[in-house]
Amino acid sequence: MSVPREVTRHEDAIPQLADVNVPDELKTWIEQRMAMYPDPKSATIPCLMQAQKLHGWLSPDAVRQVAAVMRVTPAYLVSVASFYDMFELQERGRHTIYMCTNISCMLRGADAVMAELEAAVGVSDGDVSDDGIFLRRFECLGACDIAPMASVDGVYVGPLTVDDAKQLVEDLRAERDVLPAKHLTKRPVAATFWSGGAPAGSGAGEA
């Protein structure tokens, strides 16, 4: 007999779908994602991410919704979520800036750019501004070729100068494409890029 299965007993440990108001689109998304794996639990991270996108952060309600559809405990989900850097268990803004300050970016002046970002956004590392910009230092984002760089709402931009930092925040506040000329995705591989005559160390803050 096919019945919904729960991983636990205690009556209130797994939220009941009947009691939790899960948005239809989220429920469908989660169910489809679970069906993609031999063990539906594999869908945990993608499903949490989807809920985070929908709610802006992994609020207790968001976690309960995922738990009710996946039939796992919310504790299991926060345990997983809190392990990963990209899950936000506290309320965050509309926009997210991850500023890389790992070695390669540090060597190209990331700390100065970060300081400028903090000034421009008006918050320090790990905080959200009143107008909803969340700024945090991040470990190597895998784009040291455009160091120092940042990921702005998932879009990689760099190399950033101190002036770029100001511009970046302005673009974000104006809800427009951020630093369009500095998108990583528009950049050819190094050999092509550099033979294209771009100045060496362009834009790099001296370390």
Partner: protein, 440 residues
């Protein structure tokens, strides 16, 4: 040398199946399915001698050969977590030529009798993950993925799975746990993934670059491939060069060329007016090398011979404007932040080392602390559950040992400039958490 993986990498639309197929893409797959059985494909991989590009440098064909034969669910996990500081080559491959990777995955699956494949891509690579998802969709539509591919009777499924930000998930067993929907803690080995990996089934785990090589190996033959590079480090390698150089970026080289050619030739050498002081040859986990070692052949064994490692092929160049103390602190705090916390020496050792290095950087330490730091690294090395602990201990210990003078000079300068009253009280390191309430 002709480029292999980077051939016409910037051709517009190469990420689409149309352009990829127009250039002969997926022909190798079709031909292999038609003319070779899985064992023969595996034999080519073994003949090629291609070693893993993810860090450990283990021969790919050998690893694929470890999987048990017979019909059962077997898995392939493409490691696209690329989080080692200084490494960004897989990103380029996935973004610009995703089908080269997809074709490689299908061929590798065929070779090892695998029927379910996953690409575990770091969550931060949003654009690249979307490109991969599109490519996978296209490959399904064109019949390269799914059941009974091109009427061969062989079938494999492929799912792109995004992580959510944790360096440790690049470690192959942590990757498996993460892919199973858990915290990304490394597992004890044995059992090895080849026997009991994903969902406890036999699993092959390979890096993006490793798998991107596969279609080329199968197309030209393992022997052809083995002629590129050196005897024990065959093929080409993508090198991510970053830090204090004129032309940072990804370069495809033939393994075995002198490091100098990469750093000075391709990457343009130091920034104007600067001198190179040290370099990481293979990501931030590799012990630092010095300018004395520029002429080392850039291959797995030569770099290992010099006491470091080729790792993921990420060269980070440090020039004379930078303090090694800062590099050491940044390195240690990265590993502290990324330690999964499962085993004691790594969890506590990275944390302790970072605290000590912070004091050193603040000038609030003595040379005896440097001895302690070096001693603690010894206490970590070889005693952890996975090698993340070593990944900090090795470079940090290389910095403290090779640049001891610089550390001492830094401390001496700090001591000289300090007024005793400036000592700040010890900070409390309060870690928050969800708590039900304080007991009265």
């Amino acid at each position: 040398m002709d480029e292999l993986l980077f051939q016409d990498i910037d051709e517009p639309g190469l990420n689409t199946i149309e352009v990829y197929e127009r250039r002969g893409g997926y022909e190798t797959l079709k031909k292999a399915l038609r003319e070779l059985d899985g064992e023969q494909v595996l034999a080519e991989l073994q003949a090629s001698g291609v070693r893993g590009r993810g860090g450990a440098g283990f021969a790919m064909g050998t690893k694929a050969g470890f999987l048990p034969k017979g019909t059962m669910d077997k898995y392939l996990c493409c490691n696209a977590d690329e989080s080692e500081p200084g490494t960004f080559k897989d990103r380029e491959l996935m973004q610009k030529n995703p089908h080269q990777l997809v074709e490689g995955i299908i061929l590798a699956s065929y070779a090892a009798g695998i029927n379910k494949a996953f690409i575990y891509i770091r969550g931060e690579y949003d654009a690249q993950a979307s490109i991969l998802e599109a490519a996978v969709r296209e490959a399904y539509e064109h019949g390269h993925l799914g059941e009974n591919i091109h009427g061969s009777g062989f079938g494999v499924s492929l799912v792109v799975h995004r992580g959510a930000g944790a360096y440790i998930c690049g470690e192959e067993t942590a990757l498996l746990d993460s892919l199973e929907g858990k915290r990304g803690n490394p597992r004890l080995k044995p059992p090895f993934p080849a026997n009991a990996g994903l969902f406890q089934g036999p699993t092959l785990i390979n890096n993006v670059e490793t798998l991107s090589n596969v279609s080329h190996i199968v197309k030209h033959g393992g022997e052809w491939y083995a002629k590129i590079g050196t005897e024990k480090s065959t093929g080409t390698k993508l090198v991510s060069v970053s830090g204090c150089v004129q032309r940072p970026g990804n370069y495809e080289i033939e393994l075995g060329i002198p490091a100098r050619e990469i750093i000075f030739g391709l990457a343009g050498g130091p920034l104007p007016g600067r001198e190179i002081k040290a370099w990481f040859p293979g990501g931030s986990s590799s012990p630092l090398l010095t300018p004395d070692e520029f002429d080392l052949p850039y291959d797995f064994d030569s770099i290992a011979g010099a006491g470091s490692m080729l790792g993921s092929g990420a060269i980070i160049v440090i020039d004379d404007s930078v303090s090694i103390v800062d590099v050491a602190l940044r390195t240690a705090s990265f590993y502290k932040h990324e330690s999964c916390g499962k085993c004691t020496p790594c969890r506590e050792g990275t944390n302790w080392t970072t605290k000590m290095l912070q004091r050193v950087a603040d000038g609030d330490a003595t040379p005896m602390d440097l001895d302690l730091i070096a001693g603690v690294q010894q206490q970590i090395m070889g005693n952890c559950l996975c090698v993340l602990g070593d990944a900090m201990a090795m470079p940090v210990s290389s910095m403290v040992n090779k640049f001891r003078d610089e550390f001492e000079a830094h401390l001496e300068a700090a001591r000289a400039s300090r007024t005793p009253l400036a000592d700040a009280p010890a900070k409390l390191d309060l870690v928050g958490g969800l708590v039900p309430g304080v007991i009265a």
